[in-house]
């Protein structure tokens, strides 16, 4: 579970806070999507979870099982706030929460299997090598993300879609119950995009907390249990797809003429942008 509570983040030298008293909850067993225009604060939520941004007020609490922690798996939630996390808590958090950041380009190419194996980093330390648990977790993650055939390749040789799947596999290898993905379907074609959303949906059904930052409003409306719509660092709407995907709400948030219709095949709300004002 991820509980964002009154989160306020200010970047240096900017007037408006990137996030102003944002609160929402991403439940376990549900797919939660954070959407909104460019600059609305979506990525700042992720950067706060990464510990790369210090909130000026408010907290994010992350709960859920800690992978490979035995009896301690049901530990109390970890709170990200104004105080930086001690290194040991960061490692524990990484065994509960896996994040796929928006952009990533390794400076040096790696074999795909080695890249996925880095997801096990928070589980080991010192000079110890790969354990049997690590090997199992890597194999399971590769299968879930459907990257088995890529294991022998190099990261530099992958297509955009393969690369995204390999990064999801690394996050799954971390083994935690909470998964955060920042724009995971950028560069994916229709089939790969659908496959990715189906995977996220499955992962949520299995009891994980899945938080997705996305621009794909129509896919989000179809798959997400819960949508948080941000505008200029504030929550503009928060609820099920039918509550958030309303013409007047979206039109004011995106400042663009649009209509919301129904998907003829599955009945989910669909956003149809119109031509700019004064055009046909």
């Amino acid at each position: 579970m991820i509980e964002v509570d009154g989160l306020t983040v200010r970047y240096a030298r900017t007037e408006r806070p990137a996030l102003a008293s944002v609160s929402f909850t991403a439940r376990a067993g549900a797919l939660t999507a954070v959407v909104g225009p460019n600059g609305s604060g979506k990525s700042t939520v992720v950067r706060t979870l990464l510990g790369r941004v210090t909130p000026s007020a408010g907290t994010i609490r992350v709960g859920g099982a800690i992978a490979d922690a035995g009896a301690a798996a049901r530990a109390p939630s970890i709170e990200l706030g104004r105080a930086p996390l001690p290194p040991e808590v960061r490692r524990t958090l990484a065994r509960r929460l896996a994040i796929v950041p928006q952009r990533e380009e390794p400076a040096f190419p790696l074999p795909v299997r080695d890249f996925i194996a880095l997801g096990r980093h928070p589980h080991g330390r010192g000079f110890g090598g790969e354990t049997a648990t690590d090997r199992d977790a890597i194999a399971v993650a590769a299968e879930r993300a459907a990257v088995g055939p890529l294991l022998g390749r190099w990261t530099s040789e992958l297509s955009g879609g393969e690369w995204q799947r390999v990064r999801v596999a690394r996050a799954l290898a971390q083994g935690g119950e909470v998964l955060v993905l920042d724009e995971p379907t950028t560069f994916l074609d229709v089939a790969h995009e659908m496959a990715a959303f189906e995977l996220f949906d499955d992962l949520a059904r299995e009891g994980r907390t899945v938080l997705l930052v996305s621009h794909q409003l129509n896919l989000v409306a179809r798959f997400a249990d819960h949508i948080v719509l941000l505008k200029q660092g504030r929550v503009a709407a928060d609820g099920a797809a039918d509550d958030v995907m309303r013409g007047e709400v979206l039109e004011s948030v995106y400042d663009w003429p649009l209509v919301v219709s129904r998907d003829p095949a599955v009945g989910a709300p669909v956003l149809v942008p119109l031509r700019g004002r004064g055009r046909r």
């Binding site: 928006q102 390794p106 400076a107």
Partner: protein, 326 residues
């Protein structure tokens, strides 16, 4: 680590050591080398081997290992294959220290290396202070820029110091700035070796974290790494190791840049095994380059840093061609 790669590197080191011991203004045969190592045969040969060649080869091994370890750590930390040990002002600061000592007439063989070491540490401290003032003592981009700025400042300081210095001083300072193992003593081997051994062990310890750091700031943070802390530690250790090598043998360019790259072409991608192998390759490269430097125009010696650069540039051209062909 691939066992084959490790064996290959061990073999290369062994060959380099034998060549380094045999080559020189007095060439020694393998039989003479064996006898002298066992304490037999010609006392002159024994003296050449034990007092001159062995400390020289040993210093070459530790200096080369230190430069390669430092360069490998810098490249992973900065996520940049062009990073090298002298990046954080180490070379410029060491040169300023050495030149100032020479200009001040402090030419004792123990003073110049000490001055170089202090100069290097001073420059690294200055780089970190400049980066902190600019708002990012653990931001790779800001650190590189601070390093370049401090390096330019050091170059200017050297010019000023040398402009009014007597010719002999200029020549001595320049010679030192081009790197040399010719004054190697067992004392040098011991103290540079201590820095390289301790620093190298710490970098190997950090190797697991550097694998993750090389992915980038955000992915590394997502894997639970304290990005800023690991970055600072890695830099500081790498800079200290490089400063020790500079104090022991002057500025030897290209080793710290080329060797980690060479190890990657062997298919070693994890930082820890790559660093371990790079240490061996770096040592072998410096010993071989020193053998070339002694052999080409005996009894005169070529500057070691020039030889490593002459060997390094064709390798880099080959690498670029291979990269462009892909």
């Amino acid at each position: 680590m691939s066992t084959r790669a490790a064996l290959l590197v061990a073999l290369v080191v062994a060959v380099a050591v034998v060549i380094g011991l045999a080559v020189g203004s007095v060439p020694l045969s393998l039989d003479a080398l064996r006898d002298a190592l066992l304490g037999q045969g010609d006392p002159v040969v024994r003296a050449i081997l034990w007092d001159l060649r062995l400390p020289r080869v040993a210093l070459g091994l530790v200096v080369g290992a230190g430069l390669a370890l430092s360069g490998g750590a810098m490249q992973a930390t900065l996520r940049n294959p062009l990073a090298e040990p002298y990046l954080l002002g180490v070379s410029g600061g060491a040169a300023v220290g050495a030149v100032l000592a020479s200009v001040a007439g402090l030419l004792a063989p123990t003073v110049v290396p000490l001055a170089a070491f202090l100069g290097a540490l001073g420059a690294v401290a200055l780089v970190l202070a400049v980066a902190r003032a600019a708002g990012g003592a653990s931001d790779p981009r800001i650190l590189v820029m601070a390093g370049v700025i401090v390096g330019a400042f050091c170059t200017a300081a050297i010019m000023v110091a040398l402009a009014t210095a007597p010719e002999g001083t200029v020549r001595g300072a320049l010679w030192w700035m081009m790197g040399s193992l010719s004054d190697a003593t067992w004392a040098d081997v011991r103290w540079v070796g201590a820095y390289v051994a301790v620093g190298g062990a710490l970098l190997l310890w950090l190797g697991r974290d550097l694998d993750v750091l090389a992915l980038g700031e955000e992915p590394a943070a997502a894997l639970g790494l304290d990005v800023d802390r690991v970055t600072r530690r890695s830099f500081l250790i790498a800079a200290l190791v490089a400063a020790a090598t500079v104090a022991g043998a002057g500025l030897i360019g290209f080793v710290g840049l080329v060797v980690p790259s060479l190890v990657r072409t062997l298919g070693i991608t994890r930082v820890r095994p790559a660093l371990a192998l790079a240490a061996g390759v770096g040592g072998a490269l410096v010993v071989l380059a020193d053998a070339v430097a002694r052999r080409v125009v005996p009894p005169a010696e070529l500057p070691l840093g020039a030889v490593t650069a002459l060997l390094g540039v064709p390798f880099f051209v080959w690498r670029l061609r291979a990269a462009a062909a892909r």
